[in-house]
């Protein structure tokens, strides 16, 4: 209700400044009234014009009136003016004729208008690189050479081949598929992009794994790559699974030519393998792992908004303000900032919303719309009066099921006082009529027989609430997805089944009773745990939004790991930034900083937590009440045990090298060797530490700039300079930094000598050992999580095996934790760069704001209740609850806090004493459906 969606709209001009922008918008006609359209699809079915479907990567056809895909928002049809017959020659209008809700508006016109806003967020995304511009890939020459996006559609169950993996040319199942990486990325030739697109390695592995799962015969899936870049959280484990469990072949080489073989439909690939042998291999299909690039529309928009772009046409941002564009009040998120994956984009978007919100905090709630809800009618003393609404869903249901006879049948069922059919029960007019009927007939239980509750249940529930009924006096049965659609060739049986489903729903309807949703107040204070860059940014962002913060840090000073960093790879001064940040935090009147503090106790639930801490050095105890908590406990550089570290002082880590270069320069350095992946990507820590490649290259470039004649060797497994960092890798090679790759099984060996550290390693090109005598051996030590075992057990938070906190959903909820009201950011979540920590911190603050900005919280009434008298205190609920909510209380019986209960019902089904019931799903409310179904049959 508080998001106004302007689709088909374009920004023409922007005037004004931060806090007060005037945006001139042109809205192009959709030709469909979104208020009236119920997305029944009849228009599309009747439309005679077929058009190539861009969503299915042009592999299928759609109609001229269409929705792009089933999950489109808003789920409303639109007319593609360029292809519509009516707009070409003035005739047809089939959509208008058949639309059951008169939603077609063929005379709709373009509208120009102005919107006033305080902040602007750009989330224009990116597009996939078009490999057609390079003829070496043979794209377009053979249908069996496809882009990764096309392949993605081919694998999809809703895609052009129904999820059946076949070769486009002859629809035969492929036996060999090759994926070619870096198509259009990491390539400075004309038409390609110099940066790394960040996401292609992981998606290629995913596609190869899925292709193997889809194939009946064992599929040979080969990925041709330069460096595998699975730098995302836990992505390395995914890579290992693809390689070791799924058996994907990884071939380290860049393919520069694909030759389609016309007669067989296969494509020939020539390459040199790891041993230097020249190989020719034929593949049934070749998938081009295309990169990401800025959209032309976004570039034009940037020009209109007067914001700066970088040389690759992505929005220009800085290390410490990764969401801010060059113009105040305009923020950017997602792949318009740089190529990035879903979790990073989701983090960015919350961060941008947080910043936009900070500058608008004063005017919060001033434009918010709310709904008027009538007082609830007490129906507890009335006998059930059930109303049944059977939906025809156009022809979706009525084309198979005899709806009038289902309605007649419903009228004969016990407690039913009213039954009717609707063309579309979900349509606006049906909803209005339903309201009148409910009032007139004094209906106190409502049954809708239509589609899946997933689609429209909330609309119906809102409708009965608007009539003064309790929202839990509602029941739905699915006579479309589970009946008419699956039994379309058996209309009689389908009608019978619809009756049975209605009978069951009516039986349950009679057992339903009102449930009261509990409202709890929210303590509008936040606790931020950890005073590093992430914690301080989260605290500042929240404080700027007007909330009080308690920031606790276990050390004596704020700063965290950043205290050891000198500069970012872009050259920004970390210490200057950090000092400024600490000063801002210390002087903010809403932030209270408690250093040398330890958490010793924790209780409560979302909105109302209490944390007990001991504050040093006096060790006094303090209890803090707060509504949310942000975990920003950080990480450390791994302290290596390998390669003579700690035994020879000429062996140091990258952080130590940065400091060395700052203090002593590089004058005495003639030869420096760096070893990558120390303490990462091995058995004890299988993950990639994400930041070490850039640390090494940053320092290597620094050495070269200080002393160009110094020789720097970097021994690596895969160089992971993802996104725009790739430029620095190229610069490093240009500066003469020498890169050698080594295998995990054939590690470099090191020896101390008077002259230096002697490093011996295998060179793959020459096939022999190399020896370098280094003045300094620099270990690119990985990132290890801060020791949070105690905090995690006190707060009951989940961590992965490496000790990083786990988010609620890897892709879609990357800053929320499983326990509501607790958020995670920075390196506590996983290894990341400063800029990434900052955006996640802002995102956590933004997510916390959605909680804190409300004064109270309504809890779902669907929670588990314990009957104390029946409880045998057996602990089974305690042990089986996935959220660790039940506990045995002082009375010796199980107690389930309704504020913490997720309503999953596991405890209710497991309780051996049947002492637990789940509201709205009580035993009798479920069993009565079975009884109704089997009545008369047994």
């Amino acid at each position: 209700m508080n998001i106004e969606l302007l689709t088909l709209s374009e920004i023409k001009e922007v005037f004004g400044k931060e806090g007060n922008f005037q945006v001139n918008v042109t809205r192009y006609p959709r030709y469909v009234d979104t208020e009236k359209c119920i997305a029944c699809g009849i228009c599309s079915e009747k439309c005679p014009k077929k058009v190539v479907d861009e969503y299915d990567e042009k592999l299928t056809k759609r109609k001229a009136i269409y929705v792009q895909y089933a999950q489109a928002v808003p789920l409303k049809y639109a007319i593609d003016e360029a292809n519509c017959i009516y707009f070409k020659n003035g005739r047809c209008k089939a959509c208008e004729k058949f639309c059951p809700s008169s939603a077609i508006k063929l005379n709709e016109e373009q509208k120009d208008f102005t919107v006033k806003v305080g902040s602007i967020i750009l989330s224009t995304g990116c597009k996939a690189y078009d490999p057609g511009s390079h003829d070496i890939y043979g794209y377009g020459k053979s249908p069996n050479i496809v882009t990764s996006l096309e392949f993605e559609r081919m694998l999809a169950a809703s895609g052009p081949f129904g999820g059946h993996l076949v070769r486009p040319s002859d629809k035969k199942e492929p036996e060999k598929i090759a994926w070619l990486q870096c198509i259009g990325s990491r390539d400075v030739h004309l038409g390609a992009r110099g940066y790394c697109s960040s996401v292609c390695c992981t998606y290629a592995i995913k596609e190869a794994m899925m292709a193997k799962e889809h194939s009946k015969e064992p599929l040979d899936a080969a990925i041709f790559y330069m460096d595998i870049r699975t730098h995302g959280k836990d992505f390395e484990k995914y890579y290992l699974r693809g390689r070791d469990k799924s058996g994907i072949r990884f071939v380290k080489t860049r393919i520069s030519n694909i030759v389609p073989m016309d007669d067989t439909g296969k494509q020939l690939i020539r390459y040199i393998d790891g041993t230097g042998k020249r190989i020719e291999e034929e593949f049934d299909m070749v998938v081009l792992s295309v990169g990401l690039e800025a959209r032309q529309e976004a570039i034009d928009l940037a020009d209109k908004l007067d914001i700066k772009l970088n040389k690759y046409d992505f929005a220009s941002t800085t290390s410490f303000e990764p969401m801010k564009t060059s113009r105040a009040g305009i923020y950017v998120c997602g792949a318009f900032e740089s190529p990035k994956d879903i979790p990073s984009s989701v983090i960015d978007s919350s961060a941008a919303a947080g910043l936009a919100g900070s500058s608008l905090a004063e005017s919060r709630w001033s434009l918010t719309k709310t709904k008027d809800i009538p007082t609830e009618i007490d129906t507890s003393h009335e006998p059930p009066r059930i109303g049944v609404f059977v939906c025809r869903c156009g022809t979706n249901i009525a084309g198979v099921v005899n709806v009038p006879s289902v309605v007649d049948f419903a009228r004969t069922l016990p407690d039913v006082v009213y039954a009717e059919e609707n063309l579309f029960t979900c349509s606006q007019d049906s909803q209005e009529l339903m309201k009148e009927v409910i009032k007139e007939q004094r209906i106190n239980r409502v049954i809708v027989a239509a589609c899946s509750p997933k689609t429209h249940e909330e609309i119906f529930i809102e409708n009965i609430v608007a009539c003064g009924l309790n929202r839990y006096l509602f029941e739905m049965c699915n006579i479309r997805n589970q009946d008419s659609w699956v039994h379309s060739d058996m209309p009689e049986e389908a009608t019978q089944k619809a009756m049975e489903l209605v009978k069951m729903a009516v039986a349950r309807g009679a057992t339903l009773h009102s449930l009261q949703e509990k409202k709890i107040s929210i303590n509008q204070r936040a606790l931020v745990i950890g005073g590093g860059v992430a914690g301080m940014n989260a605290a500042l962002c929240l404080a700027d939004q007007g909330f009080d913060i308690i920031l606790i840090e276990k050390e004596k000073q704020l700063g965290g790991m950043a205290k050891n960093l000198i500069s970012t790879i872009e050259g920004a001064d970390v210490q200057a930034y950090l000092n400024d940040l600490i000063q801002k935090v210390n002087s903010h009147f809403r932030i209270q900083v408690l250093t040398q503090s330890l958490i010793v106790g924790f209780s409560g639930f979302k909105g109302n937590f209490t944390t007990e801490i001991i504050v040093g050095p006096g060790m006094y105890e303090r209890k803090i009440d707060h509504g949310v908590a942000i975990m920003a406990t950080g990480a450390n550089e791994y302290r290596p045990e390998e390669f003579l570290y700690g035994r020879d002082k000429r062996v140091i880590t990258q952080i130590e090298l940065s400091e060395h270069l700052k203090k002593e320069g590089a004058e005495e350095l003639a030869q420096v060797v760096m070893i990558q992946c120390v303490g990462s990507r091995n058995e004890s820590n299988p993950n990639c530490s994400r930041v070490c490649c850039q640390s090494a290259i940053k320092n290597a470039i620094h050495i070269k700039k200080l002393k160009p004649e110094a020789e720097v060797y970097i021994l690596y497994r895969d160089i992971r300079m993802y996104g725009l960092l790739e430029d620095y890798y190229r610069e490093a090679r240009k500066l003469g930094i020498i890169f050698f790759s080594y295998d995990q099984d054939d590690q470099p060996t090191v020896e101390s000598s008077d002259k230096g550290i002697v490093v011996t390693f295998q060179d793959h090109v020459l096939g022999r050992k190399f020896r370098v005598c280094a003045d300094l051996l620099v270990l690119s030590a990985g990132v290890v999580a801060e020791d949070t075992e105690e905090i995690a057990s006190i707060l009951k938070l989940d961590r992965n095996t490496e000790g990083f906190f786990m988010e609620a959903h890897v892709k879609l909820k990357p800053v929320d934790m499983a326990m509501e009201g607790i958020f995670v950011c920075g390196t506590a979540h996983g290894p990341k760069l400063i800029s990434e920590s900052i955006s996640q911190a802002l995102a956590a603050a933004s997510r916390a704001t959605t909680f804190l900005s409300r004064s109270s919280l309504t809890l779902s009434a669907v929670t588990a209740c314990v009957d104390k008298d029946k409880c045998a205190s057996c602990l089974i609920c305690v042990r089986s609850c996935p959220y660790e909510v039940p506990r045995i209380n002082k009375e010796g019986v199980s107690e389930i806090d309704e504020a913490l209960c997720h309503g999953c019902g596991v405890c209710a089904s497991e309780c051996p004493a049947k002492a637990i019931q789940l509201n709205w799903y009580e035993d009798n409310q479920i069993m009565c459906k079975v009884d109704a179904l089997l009545k008369g049959v047994l």
Binding site: K870, A872, S873, C874, L875, I876, R879, S880, C911, P912, A913, K914, A915, L938
Partner: protein, 222 residues
């Protein structure tokens, strides 16, 4: 806690298949906790029996009641008024409950619905292990809190037998040698010298050897 295990349904059916009015009697104590005879198991058994008789075309009345405990008169009284309506009772309590119910209601045949196994603990859900044999003369004070009577196959009292190999018992490699555990624990407690002290002959008359046992506490009797 008394640990019981569910009896195979075939066995129960074999006993009660000729009755027409059956009461399933659950118990809300030990058998609930070990998931063999609480309310939930009672409902599942009743449901399974209903299906069985339905398939056989027989109309049989099957009702369910859960008592707080079947080893107390007062709780058993709760079915006094209804017990005459049934021609058989299946008790899901341990052997104690089954017998106590039978003693209260002479005229109705009672069948056990579970096998009573031992006195034990829940190691984790779905795994129960034996810890006590109710020998009547507790020796745990001398054995570091590990019971050689219930956990040693031979119930011996002065160190392991020759069948103890690498800490395991000769009857099964998965069973820990109780005496190995005792020695390790005494060492950890710094009490290994006590291991040298010989146990006196154990008075087995308080164990099953003395016949059925009873505990009499005159101070508590009213």
């Amino acid at each position: 806690m008394i640990i019981a295990d569910k009896k195979p349904i075939e066995e129960i059916i074999e006993e009660i298949k000729d009755y027409n009015k059956i009461l399933i009697l659950g118990c809300n104590e030990c058998v609930t906790v070990c998931e063999a005879g609480g309310k939930k198991e009672e409902e599942i058994l009743a449901s399974a029996l209903r299906m069985y008789f339905l398939n056989k075309g027989r109309e049989v009345k099957i009702d369910e009641v859960t008592l707080e405990r079947q080893c107390d008169h007062e709780y058993l009284e709760e079915i006094r008024d209804v017990v005459d309506q049934y021609d058989s009772i299946v008790s899901l309590a341990c052997g104690v409950g089954v017998q106590f119910t039978a003693e209260q209601y002479h005229s109705t045949p009672i069948y056990p619905g579970v096998n009573t196994c031992f006195l034990g603990a829940t190691e984790k859900r779905g795994l129960w292990t034996e810890r006590c044999q109710a020998c009547g003369q507790c020796v745990l004070a001398r054995t570091g809190g590990i019971c050689p009577i219930s956990r040693c196959a031979k119930r011996i009292l002065n160190g392991p037998c020759g069948g103890s190999t690498k800490g395991k018992c000769e009857i099964n490699k998965e069973i820990d040698c109780a005496w190995q555990l005792i020695i390790d624990r005494l060492k950890a407690l710094g009490r290994i010298d006590e291991y040298e002290k010989l146990f006196p002959l154990k008075d087995w008359s308080t164990d099953r050897a003395g016949g059925p046992r009873k505990v009499v506490r005159e101070d508590l009797q009213i």
